[in-house]
């Protein structure tokens, strides 16, 4: 079940934020927890839908199979990675992941301009450290998943360059850090969106785009199986 297991564990992650906000017994924290429960639930949907096309192309839920599938496409060139073959899904994944881990354009659960510090207002020292660490672990997790699902994992992307053994770690790490850099970059660049804008964007843009892309991918896989070299197991 590979990928689905990761999805299940991320789905449980929202309780940490909700419980932290609720247990603080503070109205700002409660609103932060409330927002995060609605936000993470909404964006989880788009996040999950953005994976479906990738899974369909690879024909497997195992991350290793998905990475190998990308490495085989187009003779190993990076244009065969899912970030290019599945560009709409990648964009949906990136936006939904940013919102799912509550990074800045979508960090409404914290929103210090209106909610003091949101769900972690009442926590200090070690407890705050735990919350902060969880937030960054979340960010690293979605960067790693994005690397494996869309950016070709440990493959070099140029035929002839080595991507075996220890060199694989270098490629993989470079891609993960590039994604992390973009997350931090966005934080430094963009202002926070409004809450109704956030919900409207999630439900009226990301989810329909992801659903339409699933249909397109399914049609492509069914009608032109040779084009994508769909693995048949």
């Amino acid at each position: 079940v590979g990928l689905l297991y990761i999805f299940a564990i991320t789905a449980l992650g929202v309780y940490g934020v909700v419980l932290a906000g609720w247990a603080a017994n503070n109205k700002y924290s409660l609103i932060g927890g409330l927002r995060s429960s609605a936000q993470m639930f909404s964006y989880e949907l788009a996040l999950g839908l953005s994976w479906v096309g990738v899974i369909m192309l690879a024909g497997s839920l195992q991350i290793a199979d998905i990475v190998d599938d990308q490495g085989r496409r187009l003779g190993g060139w990076f244009l065969g990675w899912n970030a290019f073959v599945q560009l709409p899904a990648f964009l949906v994944y990136f936006l939904a992941a940013t919102a799912e881990v509550a990074r800045i354009p979508f960090d409404l659960p914290e929103g210090e301009a209106e909610l003091v510090a949101g769900f972690h207002t009442e926590y200090s020292s070690m407890r705050f450290a735990c919350i902060q660490m969880a937030e960054y672990i979340n960010m690293i997790t979605v960067a790693v998943l994005g690397t494996s699902l869309f950016l070709g994992g440990w493959h070099a992307g140029v035929p002839g360059l080595p991507s075996e053994g220890l060199v694989a770690f270098v490629w993989w790490g470079a891609k993960v850090f590039a994604l992390l850099f973009v997350f931090i970059w966005l934080r430094g660049t963009l202002p926070r969106v409004r809450y109704d804008q956030l919900m409207a964007f999630g439900w009226k843009v990301l989810v329909p785009v992801a659903a339409a892309w699933i249909l397109a991918t399914a049609a492509g896989v069914a009608l032109l199986p040779g084009l994508f070299q769909v693995a048949s197991r």
């Binding site: 079940v1 689905l4 297991y5 999805f7 299940a8 789905a11 449980l12 929202v14 309780y15 909700v18 419980l19 609720w22 409660l30 927890g33 409330l34 429960s37 609605a38 993470m40 639930f41 989880e44 999950g48 839920l61």
Partner: protein, 163 residues
Amino acid sequence: MDAILFYVFAAIAVASALVVVGQRNPMYSAFALIVTLCSLSVIFGLLGSPFIAVLQVIVYAGAIMVLFLFVLMLLNVKKEEDRPVGGGRTLRGVALALVTLLVLQAGTVLLRWEAVPAAGFDASTRRMAQVLFSPHFLYAFEATSILILAALVGAIALARKEP
């Protein structure tokens, strides 16, 4: 090993289910329900069906319970007033639960259900999809999805304010 795990998680499931019913604070009930659902998922996993186990966590613990919590927190439900426990109400509840248990047990015995899945039973993701989309279940499956869609539209129609 499987038997130990089964009994541990079955006990957790039953205990947290009791907490769901017994708690006066709806928030605590919701949290206990999450624990119940997660231990049920472990039992599905032990039955050799990791796909159902993971779906159980994603759909129920991950999505439905988050909505429950959202509504509870949005409406700011207070602790239920203490009603006198015991007396006729509790007795009737316990009696109803016992009758249900008896009926289920009688059904199991009369229909001779196998507790152990038949040999060659395969509940992998691929097999699940093949069974679900086989002609045998396809219409029921699609009808369920239309039913859910109808419920969704109905809920929106009921909740919408007249313009």
